[in-house]
């Protein structure tokens, strides 16, 4: 269920940006940010059904590797898109996880 919702939003983003690279980039970055936060939530509070729906479901469906790989190969400027996606994703995760760990209180 989470995977379906995530995929539909990814599709909507690619339509909204009217350019598939920008849509995929937006979906992947939003997905990485959310996934980082949910991961910290699971570290602190354990795993339950809702968090399963959110992390491997929604974030997994929202983000995609295959479209990224295809858009890197297809058309001009692929190498820049490749570096842009990778660099921004790593930057997002390196910021979100430490910040989330501070924001979400540890439970005894």
């Amino acid at each position: 269920m989470g995977g379906i919702a995530g995929s539909l939003i990814r599709w909507a983003l690619s339509v909204a940006f009217d350019q598939s690279r920008a849509g995929t980039l937006a979906a992947n970055l939003i997905g990485v940010a959310l996934a980082g936060f949910f991961l910290v939530l699971m570290e602190r509070h354990g795993t339950d059904a809702l968090r399963h729906l959110l992390l491997p479901g929604f974030c997994g469906g929202l983000t995609t590797f295959s479209a990224f790989a295809f858009q890197t190969v297809e058309g001009a400027g692929g190498f820049f898109y490749f570096l842009e996606t990778l660099f921004l994703s790593l930057l997002v995760v390196a910021v979100i996880i430490p910040v989330s760990r501070r924001a979400v209180p540890e439970r005894a």
């Binding site: 995977g3 379906i4 974030c59 997994g60 469906g61 995609t64 590797f65």
Partner: protein
């Protein structure tokens, strides 16, 4: 109508990824399950290029889009780095990107 194809494809792709990753994690010390899934999904997407609009919605946007994942890949990289498993992180990064992008290309060439 296109939305329905995306829904069906994603409805198959996401659970398949989850079950396959869970199964592979039993055998692998490092999370290379997602690496394999991403390579496989990229190859399938490459094969589907040039097909009809609805089939592309089903396979490209739905199935391989949900089957492969970017968020887990990035989280795996970050966590391996945090655990100081630099070798495993570097291997995952290089394998995923080189073989994954190569797989799409091979898929496109085959059809």
């Amino acid at each position: 109508m296109k939305a329905l194809y995306v829904i069906i494809g994603a409805g198959i792709g996401a659970p398949t990824r989850y079950v396959l990753d869970l199964y592979l994690r039993k055998f692998l010390k490092y999370p290379y399950g997602i690496t394999l899934i991403n390579v496989l999904g990229s190859f399938i997407l490459g094969l589907s290029i040039g097909s009809s609009d609805n089939f592309h919605a089903f396979i490209g946007l739905g199935f391989t889009g949900a089957f492969t994942t970017w968020s887990t890949f990035i989280l795996d990289l970050y966590l391996a780095f945090e655990l100081k498993q630099y070798k495993s992180a570097a291997l995952n990064l290089l394998l995923s990107l080189i073989v994954g992008i190569g797989a799409v290309w091979v898929g496109i060439q085959l059809v």
